[in-house]
């Protein structure tokens, strides 16, 4: 799918509308949060969008065509049946009061823990994608470098520290008062 060119800068509501027009019901939910701080009460915006996994790669492509984003990090939630990945972007930086934070979240079912890499458009995503692989056990398809990042090489296979199910760290935890040392 080719993304229509957007030349001018969109408002936070405009960004949500743009994605909703493009992807219709595949945008599961959206929320624009306005915040004010300081004496002058200048506002800034956080956008939260939840999308369907099937359009994930297209959304990122549309975003890159809209304005080249800065990817801060990908965070991950273990939601029992799914793992939610949240991509934290910032858009339109470089001008006073102009930046918008965009958080795109996508649910990946535990039955098929796979998602495409975004390194082909944003090479800087490599570090955080490698981290998600080892910490949450998500397979990133097409990642240029799939080695571990933080965990040592002798870390057991199939154990993922951030998981809250039986693949997590529960069986490795020893409370000090139980160890009797």
């Amino acid at each position: 799918m080719n993304a229509p060119k957007v030349k001018e800068q969109l408002t936070p509501e405009g960004i949500v509308k743009y994605f909703k027009d493009e992807f219709k019901t595949k945008i599961k939910s959206s929320n624009v949060k306005k915040h004010v701080e300081g004496s002058k009460k200048k506002e800034y915006y956080n956008i939260w969008i939840k999308i369907d996994k099937s359009i994930f790669k297209d959304v990122i492509k549309h975003l890159c065509d809209m304005t080249y984003p800065h990817l801060a990090v990908i965070s991950g939630n273990d939601l029992k049946k799914d793992i939610e990945l949240i991509y934290h972007f910032s858009l339109y930086f470089g001008k006073r009061y102009n930046e918008i934070s965009l958080n795109i979240s996508v649910d990946v079912p535990k039955s098929k823990l796979e998602i495409e890499t975004i390194c082909d458009w944003i090479p800087g995503a490599l570090v955080t994608e490698r981290e998600k692989q080892e910490m949450l056990g998500i397979k990133i398809i097409g990642i240029p470098d799939s080695r571990r990042l933080f965990l040592p090489d002798d870390w057991p296979e199939g154990v993922y520290p951030w998981r809250k199910d039986d693949k997590g760290l529960q069986k490795y935890i020893r409370n000090l008062h139980e160890v009797k040392k």
């Binding site: 701080e37 300081g38 930086f93 009061y97 570090v127 080695r147």
Partner: protein
Amino acid sequence: MSEQKNTTKTTYHIPIGPIHPALKEPVYFEFEIDGERIVDVDVKLGHVHRAIEWTGMRRNPIQILYLAERICGICSFVHPMSFARAVENACDIEVPERADYLRVIHGELERICSHMLWAGVAAHEIGFDSVLFITWEMRERVLDLTEYLTGNRVTKAIMMIGGVRRDITSEHVPKIKETMNYLKKNFEKLRKIYLEDKTFKIRSMNCGILTYEDAMGLCAVGPTTRASGVKKDVRVDQAYAAYGDLDIDYMTPDILRGKTVGDVYDRIIVRLLEVKQSIELIEQCLDKIPSGDIVSEPKIPKLLAHVKKTAGEGIGRHEAPRGEVIHYVKFDGENEHPYTWKVRASTYANILPWIPMLKGEQIADIPIVAASTDPCMSCTNRVGVIKDGNTTQLTKEQLHKLSVQKTRRLMR
């Protein structure tokens, strides 16, 4: 360690780290070297992974403030600040105006300390130790001021969700002004050394270049990305805390140099300009600070009960001395402790930019180039050189000597 790549006869590998002089915390580099030139670089992390996020998911937000403070000694204000902002964001807690200003003052004091520390380390890396003492003497005055204001030099324990814990009263103001005047008076000396001294120029100009395209694509942050001409500074981009009220602009090297190259010299310029900017910001804050409360909810059990009831998620961003720090928290509405806590420190984003910076440079440039992004990882003792299958050890002193020798050679 990764498998050794098949190499031709002309290249060899140097592993640097996990323990290394230019790095304040352990990180592992593997360099592929052709003669004196660096052909390829690989970075491996995780030697000091302390599972802080995991631990945090079993603590309540007040406990996490102090845990976050211990993520990094130099950024001991930045992490609690980002975490508190993420919680405020998730639980819709409003911060009093006065607290916004106090946060800026403490944040900028920390930036001065951090940049001064970096300036000293950078001077040491190229064998200019007298400058190390000048900068750290100046930093000492700022640390004294920090101790005067918060009670501690490093871990300040000043942050609270919904505000700060200690006020700055009128009796504190003269001492702040005195320190700022001292810094301004000495700033010119510093500027002259770093920007006009021959030693600094020959070692830092056109060395370790990061292009604009690489900085954008690799998502670099902070002075590292601004030195490559990318205008990205959360303080200017978003009107958070009191930064929205203050007069502030992006510090890019073209302000002084007239152009942007993206080399080590540019990174020095950006940090120097930011020290000056921080002094001005603190002075502006002292002029404009409104009176009022310093924390929105002083009763901690009440605050925790509010957090416990909230189901929601939030992000907190802050421009740390090294670049943007972002924290993500999610509360499930049943427990006090966060369901998820993710920390992204600035060096995390500045790892990949090392690769284009170091490629093509000489071994003797490794310390200054690696140090030029101000990596927040730790320092030490040994570099092993594997040459023709024989492993020899290069100690910290030897590598440092190599760097100093290069300075001497260029001076001749």
